[in-house]
Amino acid sequence: MAANQNRFEEDELKDNAYHLVAALRAVADAHDQMKPYAVELLGTRTSLVEKRFAKNLRELSDGTTTKTLIDLANWIEGKYKTGDLTNPPENLSADLSPISPEDSLMIVAEESGDSASSVVDQVQNTPDRPLPGESVGHDDPLPDASGVECEDSPPASTAFVECVSDPAVLELPTFVEDLDDKFESTQLTTEPAAFDESIIAGLVHDALGEEMAECEKDNAETVLHIQNCEAVRQEAVRFYDQLSNSSEASIEILSQVPPLPEDVPDASRVLIESRLQSLALISKMIKRLEGRIVPIDLPLSWDMPAVRGTEQSLLTIATAAESAEVARTRIKEDLRSASLARYSLVTLPKEAGKKITKDLIDFVSRHLLPIVDSLDDGETYAKPLLEPEHGTSTNEFANIILGVYGSVRKEFLLALTTIGITVTNVSCGTLIDYESQEPFDSEPESTLPDETVLSVSRNGYQRQTESIPQRTIRMAQVIIVKNPRSAN
């Protein structure tokens, strides 16, 4: 009985060993088939794989795993033939431990559910293990290195099922479903693995190649805008300095207007007093000029930080991306954002320069030209006081007043010339130039053609500098000829 018992145990041991060898070889074969996937996973899609599988994949890809499994199978086969299964080599058992069949399937499943399914299908479609007493065919015998064939050996594929007699294997469909779930969740939740440095470097290098070229272009443009802006700023500073001097000088001139002589006839007195009132008002306008000057605010820094920031952000993006494709997409988006951010930096000095010019012209138009216009008007209204009918005393005083108007006007025109602004030259008797003149009113004059300029109602101003072509700051308002159409 004991002998039978021993015999039974020995047979069972052999049987199990036989199954184990078959299973190991089947697994080795499966691993061999997985090798290309492992190579691809390691090469391009590393971050799909959790870190704990990285070592297994490396061994899978370089064939170490397959070799280890085959070595173990050979070792077991040799041992079961001699009955010595007691001392498996330590190095083999140690090496085998990291990669279980389940893990192998998981890796396959992570790469492709179909691959995992096909493995399962292979298992499930194998013939059932023969029942006791049923004849066993030898169509698929276990290859025997020593040439011995075991009559009782079941087919290798059946052995695979039996050998890996883990409950998990018996529930393979569920197991695969779980794997699929794990695969899905892995995609979503897996911490990005250490991205292959060569891939990151390649992606970032390609992206930065174009980026740096664009950056250089932007930098060159920015430098140009900064130079222009600085030139405009200096011009504005010179103008405001000159304006300050002109204002001071004007106030000084205006303060020297003598009191109205007592011997001015009453008929002229009202007219002279109106000129004095005009000068007093102009003096007040001048005194408020400085307070109206718009401060020139320039950005403190003209740096282009986006260039450095982009490189760092690209590295961060590439390292954190789930795949090279995702990395490329995100890098593209990041470069677009960086380009827009950089563009705002490029336009900063450009806009600053434009604003200085706009503020300057606005200041001139709104606050300075009304003063000059008032001086022009004052001069026009003072001239009749030079008529002899007003008497010598009035004439002399009118000359003083006209001198004041003229001197103050000269001061402000001097300030305007520092920024290239001059009075528009209008030739009476010629046709109106609509680029710099506008008709304010018309009169019939049969000896002249329509649209001939008769007189200037209000002076116009234009600006021209070395860098700016001539531009009209304000149109000259002119009175022109307009004859009745029937006359033409």
């Binding site: 007219l271 306008m285 709104r366 008032s374 209204y381 609509y434 506008e438 304010f440 531009r471």
Partner: protein, 496 residues
């Protein structure tokens, strides 16, 4: 794509001024004219000796002198774009005149880079423009040969500029905000309330309500300020001859505009004018409160129109501050302190978005939209515009009456069905005339199109039932289905 040679333009074809935005690959910039101006006067003058048209400020000046040869504000004439008008001896149409303005803008843009061409453009129109006005604008664009890809409503264009900026800030963050576009220009006032929905994949503009007044603008304010100056100076111009009166008014108007600008930031401004009329000058202070007072009735009108907007959008007065997130101001007069104060009170403080350049916002937004149509990946997001019917839509009934089926301010898409009866005996054919507008008479409304139904069974008056269904799509296409005795006739018409 080299956008410096392949121009993608957004054109703000305004009543008084027009401007051009250009997409440069990264942003929309404004195309300055040859004189360095950001806007061109929308005035056309016929040069008889050369049989040519002049456009811009020169045309404006010539028109002042020779009014019969020029036209100012042709946009107001687009109600009948095909009507014959005369500029001196020249017979033309508002469409052709508008085309001349567009040609000038095109020429300014092309002159910047020799050898450049217009790849595509978008032209803007007021929100209240009816279908035929939009169509007339489209025809003008065709005449000007500017590859017009779309006609876009001005407030939408203005808010696209804002949405573009916000899209950069928000990225993939999902965000919804309600925006009021407050456009107070020189001669018109428009209000548009939007819901702007940002997601990672889409920017959705949903027009919630619109309103405004096309006879209210900054020029009205300027005239009031001139009157205030005259009062403060104690001067009456009525007794003056026309020319001295004009000179005085011009002087006061220049000063009024300057003072208005100063008072947008300063609470008080001292005004000094010498020789308003010879020998009579004045100095006085004007405050923001003064402006508030003299413009009170205008401000009240604006407030009422804003309240109407809330009502249409279903926003209760106490909910406004919580429900309206931003105000985008467009137009110089919208910067007035009294307007700002009114907006703060009506909507809540710190709601005004100041980053957008108000004067050029429409042209720049249109340029961004043109670039988007050219390259849908441009924004990294899809742009969806959901509008409302700007005018009531309906059919002509007996005696030239207008029966509105879809009211104004109804969100698209929408659909409504109504059964009518014939109003004459033995009718064998029927013209279904479709109109849009607010008048009870079709003669005052705008014709959208006609569907002709023939082969009717002759019946006594009132016995034939005519089932009419109107559908408005988000793209502002009106689909009309007419069912008579199971016979179906269908027509599609653009309404914006």
């Amino acid at each position: 794509m080299d956008y410096s040679k392949n121009l993608v333009l957004g054109i703000d074809l305004g009543t008084t001024f027009s401007s051009v935005g250009q997409w440069n690959g990264r942003a929309a910039t404004i195309v300055e004219d040859l004189k360095g101006n950001e806007a061109t006067q929308s005035v056309v003058f016929y040069e008889e000796p050369h049989n040519t048209f002049t456009v811009g400020d020169t045309a404006y000046k010539r028109t002042l002198l020779n009014p019969p040869f020029g036209v100012i504000g042709v946009k107001r004439m687009m109600d009948d774009g095909e009507q014959t008008m005369t500029l001196g001896p020249k017979k033309t149409t508002p469409i052709e005149v508008s085309a001349e303005i567009l040609k000038r803008l095109k020429s300014d843009a092309l002159s910047k880079v020799p050898g450049s061409k217009i790849l595509s453009s978008v032209v803007t129109v007021p929100y209240y423009f009816k279908v035929h006005q939009c169509e007339s604008t489209r025809k003008a664009a065709e005449l000007a040969d500017i590859n017009c890809r779309a006609i876009l409503q001005e407030p939408i264009a203005a808010s696209i500029g804002y949405a573009w900026q916000r899209a950069q800030e928000l990225g993939a963050t999902e965000h919804t905000e309600t925006i009021l576009v407050f456009d107070l220009g020189g001669g018109t006032f428009d209000l548009t309330l939007f819901r702007l929905h940002h997601t990672a994949a889409k920017i959705r503009f949903e027009v919630l309500a619109t309103g405004g007044d096309d006879r209210l603008g900054g020029m009205d304010f300027d005239n009031r300020i001139v009157d205030l100056f005259l009062k403060r100076a104690g001067i009456n111009l009525d007794h003056l001859e026309p020319r001295p009166q004009r000179i005085a008014r011009q002087k006061l108007l220049d000063q009024a505009i300057s003072t208005k600008i100063s008072l947008t930031t300063s609470p008080i401004e001292t005004v000094t004018i010498s020789d308003i009329v010879p020998g009579q000058g004045a100095e006085f202070d004007v405050t923001q409160d003064d402006l508030q007072e003299i413009l009170a009735d205008y401000i009240k009108r604006i407030e009422d129109m804003i309240s109407e907007i809330w009502s249409v959008a279903g926003i209760q007065p106490h909910e406004v501050s919580a429900k309206v997130d931003r105000v985008i101001r467009v137009g110089g007069s919208s910067k007035l302190a009294c307007i700002r104060k009114m907006l703060d009170q009506a909507i809540g403080k710190d709601k005004i978005y100041s980053t957008i350049k108000d004067v050029t916002a429409v042209a720049q937004g249109a340029a961004i939209y043109a670039a988007y149509l050219d390259d849908p990946d441009l924004l990294g997001k899809e742009v969806e515009i959901v509008t409302r019917t700007c005018h009531a839509l309906g059919v002509e009934t007996s005696g030239g009456g207008f029966y509105a089926l879809i009211p104004a301010n109804r969100q698209a898409p929408c659909e409504i069905m109504q059964i009518f009866r014939t109003d004459a005996d033995n009718m064998t054919s029927l013209d279904i005339n479709l109109f849009q507008g607010s008048s009870k008479l079709v003669s005052d409304n705008s014709h959208v199109g006609t569907i002709k139904v023939e082969g009717l069974k002759p019946r006594p008056k009132g016995e034939t039932k005519v089932k009419i269904t109107l559908k408005v799509s988000p793209q502002q296409t009106l689909s009309v289905i007419v069912d008579i005795d199971g016979q179906r006739s269908v027509g599609n018409f653009k309404i914006a």
